[in-house]
Structures are given as C-alpha cells and as structure tokens.
C-alpha cells in the first residue's frame, strides 16, 4: 500500500491544483481567525471546553448510563456497538425490521469510519448521502477528503461534468448556483421518498438523553422529519454533561470550522415524532482503548471542526486522500495509529510539528505533541517507514561518534557546494524535492565558534 508521502507526491504533480487547494483552505483558516478575534473571551472558551471534556472523559461511563436512561424515558431506542461491524449490523436490523429500502444520510464521519454505505449497498438498501459535498463524493465513488469540506479537492468543472452525467444538467455548465439548484431538486425527491434517515451526532446530552446535530444545509432535518425511522450514530466521546454546556461548544464549533458565528441549523432531537421511531447507536470502535492511553486520550476531545486541517501546511499541500484514513490531517494522524499502528505508521510523520494545529484547536488538544509522541512509539515498535528508518540509523551512528560527525559535516559542506545538481536533487534526497536546499555555510558552528574565540 502506498504511504502518505507517495500519495502526496501524486497529488502535488498537479501544481496548479495544489496551489488552489492550499489557498482555499488557508482562506478558511483566515475566516476562522477573524471570527475568533471578534470574541474577547475566545481563549477562555477554549479552556472551558477542554475542561468540560476532561470531566466527560473522566466520568464517561456514568454519563453514558445517564444518557441512555434519559433517552429511554423519551421513548428513544438505544443500542451499543463495540465496533464498526456491530454498528452496521444494528443499523441493518433496524432497517430490516421497518422494511426500509431507501435511506437518506446526513454527513457523519462515524458512519464513514464504519463503512456503513458499503454494508447497506451489499444488503440491497439504497443509501443516499444528502450533504451536497458528500453527494458529490458518493457519485464519484470516493471518500471525503476533509471532515467539514468533503469535496474541497474537486473543481466546479468536475462537478459540472459529473452532474451532467448523473443528473442530466446542461453540458459544460459549471455554475455553482445552477449545480446546487439541480442537486436540491434531486435530493428533495429523495427526502420525501426515504423510509429511514441516518445522521451523525455533534453532541449528546447526558442530562436530557437528546442529541444535537449541526448543519448549514438543513439536510439532517429534511431527512429525519420526513422518514418514519430516524437513526443517530454517536461515538461514545460525543457526550456533554448538561444542556448548558452546549453554549460553550456551539460557540466554538462553527467559528473554528468555517468562521461562521453559528451553523445555520442547530437541531436538538429529544423524542421520536408521534407514531415514528428514533434510535441512537452508541459506538466505541477503539475509543475506550484510546481512553486508556494517557499520552493520546486528549484526542478524544475532538469535535471534528477541521480547523487543524485548514491550518496544516502538510495537509493543505498534500490533500486529504493522501492520509488513506477516514479522518485526515493532524487529528487523523493521531487517531489512525491507535486503530492500526502498522498500517498508519507513516501518518505521524506527515507533520512539520510547527504547532499550528494545536494553536487553532477549539478544545486545546496538544495535537503536535501527540504526533511527536506517536513517532517515538512507532520507533519503539520498529514500525518506522524505510525512508525514515535507514537515514535515522545512519545519523544515529554519526551522532554517536564525534570525530565521524565532524568529518561528515566537512565533507557535506564541501560536497553540497561542489556536487553537480543531479547528485543533490534526486530521488534519494526527499529534502531536495520541490525545494532548493539552503546555501551551505563556510564553517561548521564549532569552527566558527573557535575562530571567534581565537580572534
């Protein structure tokens, strides 16, 4: 399987697209900064959010029990799934019992994580993603490349072509307004036909047993209110103790995600509609294990705003798909190795460790520090990718021996200056790709220091 760097290399071959992707995400980051700066209490909000999540993680079992009890009182059916497979089976059974053949889904990274769509399709159930970006991705048979902006890597001309083929829009028309209207008509029909609706969950409230779903398009509501059965898939870490804590998180979420003061719709689902069914599936899928790892448990505070992706210099230039995991970017690079250290050992290295991700994270996850810790874990478990392990072994030897270190430095300084380009900028030197190496200094620091002292 190809690694992050190989996939990234494929992405950046198209230089214009790379620059466009980089710019689009940076623009979102700038909007986030503008929104954050309008609230003088922004840092206080981040601290408070982080502390609330500390409390949640420390009492998670009790909150889940409380949540379940309250939800049941409200007439909601609560299910528990230890992994993605069980989640899919539960959803499948609910659909089967209610004889549901057509399902609409509102964006949920958790159901992506569980590969729910594949499972349902194998069982002859039609599942339509209704978030516009997700629908585009689904038609292209791709996975989202960002948690908030799933189709950020696709150009409007490509959407125009796709919709021409799939929805019969005018050939060559790639006007976003025109295309969105076509999708609206297409999706409205699907909503009204749907037997069941599935959504993710932004926040579950232990105190009330209800769930909160945030969207800009209103698709979660169109689905849930139209269909006879509504299902909400929720990771165990999504809980908040009380409704009042929503004040903190709803203020942070949209501002961090896109720079909006709020998502257009913040929907609070408490009880099923009269004569209809409401289900909540509580999913673990590796989360309780992550909770036990002191160094990494903070990652469970994540509210999936995507801010760390928008700011990451690596993500912006390598594209979400290069992370070959459901959650890409800095936070994905922490969550994925927890699931499969061997498969994702390359991801913690897809970072400059500049710390920008930690700076923007609304719940103050120490993202870059956790990435650094993963690197050490990976080294300990001998899962280092070859491109890192061989050079590291050599440098280790060099650092061990001062006289080799000195002479290697000397040789490097003179050879880098005198070697022909093709010997410096080639496939063996990753640092020479897409960039010029800095000019080589005349002396080593040691030589310079000695000279200064002597003079």
């Amino acid at each position: 399987m190809s690694t992050h760097s190989e996939k990234a290399a494929a992405f950046i071959k198209d230089e214009a697209r790379t620059n466009w992707h980089d710019g689009a995400l940076w623009h979102v980051r700038e909007k986030r900064d503008a929104a954050a700066s309008l609230l003088p209490e922004w840092e206080l909000l981040r601290n408070t959010a982080s502390h609330i999540k500390d409390n949640v993680l420390a009492n998670l079992d009790d909150y889940l029990i409380q949540f379940e009890a309250e939800a049941k009182k409200n007439g909601v059916v609560v299910h528990w799934a230890k992994d993605g497979k069980e989640h899919n089976q539960i959803v499948g059974q609910i659909l089967q019992r209610s004889n549901a053949k057509k399902v609409v889904k509102s964006k949920s990274m958790l159901t992506e994580e569980c590969k729910l769509n594949d499972f349902l399709e194998e069982n002859d159930i039609e599942i339509i993603d209704t978030d516009l970006g997700e629908r585009i991705i689904q038609m292209r048979k791709e996975e989202p490349s960002h948690v908030v902006l799933p189709a950020i890597h696709i150009k409007k001309e490509e959407v125009g072509e796709l919709f021409h083929k799939e929805l019969g829009t005018e050939e060559g028309n790639s006007d976003p307004t025109y295309l969105t209207k076509a999708a609206r008509t297409h999706l409205r029909q699907r909503f009204f036909e749907a037997d069941a609706a599935i959504t993710g969950v932004n926040f579950g409230i232990a105190e009330t047993g209800g769930v909160v779903v945030c969207t800009n398009e209103g698709n979660a509501d169109m689905g849930c209110h139209s269909a006879a059965v509504q299902i909400h898939s929720m990771g165990i870490e999504k809980l908040l103790p009380k409704a009042e804590h929503l004040g903190v998180f709803t203020r942070l979420l949209a501002r961090s995600a896109t720079g909006q003061p709020t998502t257009i719709y913040t929907s609070h689902f408490q009880k099923p509609q009269k004569g209809k069914e409401m289900h909540i599936v509580i999913v673990d899928n590796g989360r309780s294990e992550q909770l036990g790892k002191e160094d990494f448990r903070n990652s469970l505070k994540c509210i999936r705003c995507g801010a760390c992706m928008n700011t990451c210099p690596i993500y912006r230039r390598s594209g979400g798909h290069s992370y070959h995991a459901t959650i890409p970017g800095p936070i994905g690079a922490i969550l994925s190795p927890n699931r499969d250290l061997k498969k994702y050992s390359d991801l913690p290295f897809a970072s400059t460790l500049c710390g920008s991700c930690s700076d923007v994270c609304p719940v103050k996850i120490d993202i870059h520090e956790q990435l650094y810790k993963w690197r050490q874990e990976i080294y300990k478990h001998h899962e280092l990718p070859k491109s890192k392990s061989i050079p590291l072994r050599i440098t280790g030897k060099i650092f061990e021996n001062p006289s080799i270190f000195n002479s290697v430095g000397k040789i490097a300084r003179s050879s880098l200056k005198h070697l022909p380009r093709f010997m410096v900028y080639n496939n063996l030197n990753g640092w020479g790709k897409q960039r010029e190496l800095p000019e080589v200094p005349e002396y080593s620091f040691k030589e310079w220091y000695k000279k200064q002292k002597d003079e």
């Binding site: 500390d54 800009n216 209103g218 209110h225 139209s226 004040g247 709020t262 913040t266 609070h268 509580i282």
Partner: protein, 193 residues
C-alpha cells in the same frame, strides 16, 4: 454484550475526575440597543433579510399583510404557526411547494442570529425546512447576548424537538462558492418588533 464490555473498558481506562468549570464567567450585561444592533448585524451576515420595526409605530398585522403581498407576490400556500395565524391542518403535504412559513420564535441570540423554535410552535417539525421561504417575527425583548443565556432560559427537553435557525439554508460545497438555498428554505426574513 457490547454495552457491558464498553462500560467496563471505560471504567478501567478513564482518567481521574476533574470538576466541571464555572460557566458564570460568560455572563454579560449588554444594553438593549447594542443587543438589537448586534442581532441585526449577525442576522444580515447570515444572509437573512432583516426589517427593524423596534422604533416604528406601525400595526404589525397590517404591516405583515402588505409586506407579504409586496415581497412574496406569488405566494399562495402558507404555513402560519402564529397564534393569530390560520389553522394548520393535521395532514400537510410538504411535497407540494409551500411558499411561506411564518413563526414567532421564542428567543433570538445577538452574537450569531440564532432563533429558537420548538415542536410546540412548529406543529410539523419539517415545516421550516420544507417551505420555500421562512419569515420570523421576533420581539426584541426576547433577544439574549450569547448562546449561554439562551440555554439558561430554554428547556431543550420541553418538547421532542427544538432548533436554532440562523438564516436561509446554504452551502459552499462546490468550490467554496456560497450558494443560498441548498436544501431547506431559500430565504429567511426576520421582522424585529
């Protein structure tokens, strides 16, 4: 059983408990004029059309009738949830295009333009999403500074469903170009009284 396994694993792995932080630090005293001004600014930013009647002497029902005739001349099907509105039938076919949804939200939030509607007001949950246009009439005395105050006042568990609506439905999923009217209402008008 997965429930027991999950709870057991959490119990074993969870960290030491920390107390919940104090939320009273987010209380602000803000003058009514500033609240109204902020609310208008954020709502407009969310692409709502705002009509400020807070200082005018007009008769609301007369104003609304004229306003609707002028701004929604083609509207024939209405979904009016106000106490003064027309009776809403039990079975509404939302597949037929309903032109205008009218409601009186319980409260508004100055910092982000959110308006609260719950099932008690809505009657049919899907109405504000399935109707083409939404029109909200809100008393400026019911505007609070931030989401903290909103959640203090509301009891989200009072009905089966409640929603903050902050404008018309929108998306920027095609090359980051903002398009209004993605799936839900294509316009939102706020009348501030």
């Amino acid at each position: 059983m997965s429930r027991a396994d999950i709870l057991e694993a959490i119990k074993k792995n969870k960290p030491q408990s920390l107390s919940l932080p104090d939320l009273s630090v987010f209380q602000h005293e803000i003058s009514p004029e500033i609240l109204v001004a902020d609310f208008i600014k954020t709502s407009t930013g969310n692409m709502s059309n705002v009509v400020d009647l807070t200082t005018s002497e007009v008769d609301l029902s007369v104003f609304l009738e004229e306003f609707i005739a002028e701004n929604f001349p083609k509207a024939t099907k209405f979904y009016d949830t106000r106490s003064s509105g027309k009776e809403i039938p039990e079975n509404v076919d939302f597949q037929e295009n309903i032109d205008l949804f009218i409601a009186e939200p319980k409260l508004g939030v100055a910092e982000n333009g959110c308006l609260w509607l719950d099932e008690g007001i809505l009657k049919h949950r899907v109405a504000p999403f399935a109707c083409q246009h939404t029109l909200m009439v809100i008393d400026h005395h019911n505007i609070v500074p931030t989401m903290h105050q909103a959640y203090q006042i509301l009891n989200i568990n009072e009905t089966g469903y409640g929603v903050f609506i902050a404008g018309p439905s929108k998306t920027a999923d095609i090359e980051q170009s903002l398009v209004i009217g993605a799936q839900g209402a294509v316009s939102n008008t706020v009348i501030l009284i």
